[in-house]
Symmetry: C2
């Protein structure tokens, strides 16, 4: 039996109302059949969001629906969520303390510091930074904004599904990458019970959702590879798993080489700098990991930009 998710359209619509005018309405663009090899593919350019990823939607919604204590905000992150929490803190005029792992690229860490947050680089991967964050939070009492495993964060990310639905009614498929599941579960919650199916794309090197699908529940996996900073959670979040499972989201994986190739194509043919985690969903089309049928209307969520541009130039 599929679990009942606690995020529904009403919650996502309420989140959209709260976020209106505070986050960017990102555009949906068709780059032409020559770009993706399929004529009916559009791209939601969420990498143009504040701070360069989708993360401000969930983080700001979580902060706006909580009581923010005098100690401010605290978060652990592979990089993009920390950037978003730092941005939220600056928007709300409170302080932020961010824990990132060593795998987080300089592009993200430096940008987070420029937003005024205190940044601690701790441990090899996200889960190590998370442990340090939890310990510190017990001392300060700051509001801990989890990067994905919270209904209010998921509802914030779900506004991307709402916008896609408004801008491109009648989509068959949404391709979206997954780290811990915050983004994909929000979009899946929006489309649950409709004819629009969410396809979760993960790197073969970091595929906790594929493992959860195989096991029937979230399980721990090893994580590595080119997208480890943004997609390298060891286990899909519980709130996220519930929403994805309830919506019947599919799972595909792509090789790291396909992700690098997708980054190069985005730059060469669309003039966009896309980070590995942001390019993974499109890589599923180019690498043939997901093959749309003729006439299938597909949206690809391009969810992050934060990397060194030198890595995407051919």
């Amino acid at each position: 039996m599929r679990p009942t998710p606690s995020i529904d359209r009403g919650r996502i619509e309420a989140a959209a109302t709260l976020l209106d005018g505070r986050v960017r309405r990102t555009p949906v663009v068709g780059f032409g059949a020559g770009f993706s090899g399929h004529p009916d593919v559009v791209h939601k350019l969420e990498l143009l969001q504040h701070t360069g990823s989708f993360k401000p939607r969930g983080a700001l919604h979580r902060a706006l629906t909580s009581e923010v204590p005098a100690a401010g905000l605290i978060a652990a992150s592979g990089g993009n969520h920390g950037l978003a929490v730092a941005w939220v803190a600056a928007e709300l005029g409170v302080s932020a303390e961010i824990f990132v792992p060593e795998v987080s690229p300089a592009a993200k860490v430096d940008k987070t510091r420029r937003l005024g947050a205190t940044v601690h680089v701790t441990g090899a991967l996200y889960d190590d930074a998370r442990a340090a964050c939890v310990a510190r939070r017990a001392e300060t009492g700051a509001l801990d904004i989890h990067p994905y495993d919270h209904d209010d964060t998921v509802a914030g990310a779900g506004t991307i599904g709402l916008e896609l639905d408004e801008d491109v009614p009648g989509l068959d498929t949404v391709l979206v990458s997954l780290g811990g599941g915050g983004l994909s579960s929000g979009i899946a919650a929006w489309f649950a019970g409709t004819d629009t199916r969410v396809v979760v794309v993960e790197p073969e090197t970091s595929s906790c959702f594929a493992a959860a699908v195989a096991a029937g529940a979230p399980v721990e996996v090893d994580v590595a590879g080119v997208a480890a900073d943004s997609l390298g959670a060891r286990k899909v979040g519980l709130a996220n798993w519930r929403a994805l499972h309830a919506a019947g989201a599919a799972s595909v994986t792509v090789a790291d080489d396909a992700i690098r190739d997708a980054q190069r194509r985005f730059w060469a043919e669309a003039q966009l700098v896309v980070e590995p985690g942001g390019a993974a969903a499109a890589a599923a089309l180019w690498a043939g990991a997901y093959e749309p049928r003729a006439g299938e209307r597909v949206a690809v969520v391009v969810c992050g930009a934060n990397c060194d541009p030198a890595t995407v130039v051919t």
Copy 2:
């Protein structure tokens, strides 16, 4: 007395019909008041167009409304127009010969060659490449696609005005950069006789339109500076001047430093790699060269991306 331009809305609408499905419909995005310092500014992201600039609109429209001889296409360009003509040739299955000056960056020259065109790097600036192109054209009989001074090219670029008008009805002002005037005159032709005013932005170091406004007719100027490869025409085109003058386009100039600063802001705050010529229009807002009044609805055309991303990273 203002001259009568030969490009009207009917011609631009016809161009839009011909170009539909062949060029990208680029999005209009608001980045928030924090981005430009003004709440009512939107950006037409024409840098997401095929080849990374607005140029395919005019070049393809010119080719589609002409007889293309067996010798194919020929063009002189600072770089972006040559890229566009190479792309048009590939789309139509004909050959292309492109003349660019030494000031054209490697990012443009290499991309043009990858599209299959024969590229000749000739002379210091655009006008030198133009002279070589005219001489070669006399030998081959290829279709010479001028980068700006032709009504069919202007009508193609004018489709940007049409799209802006559809997507953001009731604009007060469109800020757009000028090299020879192809882009700005097309947009001005669309908005001529309406309440929407076109403001032409040029680098102080390459300002042939400002000189033409002062003289009352196109005159030759010296050109140099950070945007010389894309905005470095020595004289505004005659067809372009007519359309701009008839529409009452205003003229402002910005310093090279302001253009570099705009490039850095586009990357730091919107994750966009924008070349100097593409960033000049936005620079007019940041540098205060153009000050919108309260509530003024402004669109900025971001018209080109082709540069080395390393030059925009802060």
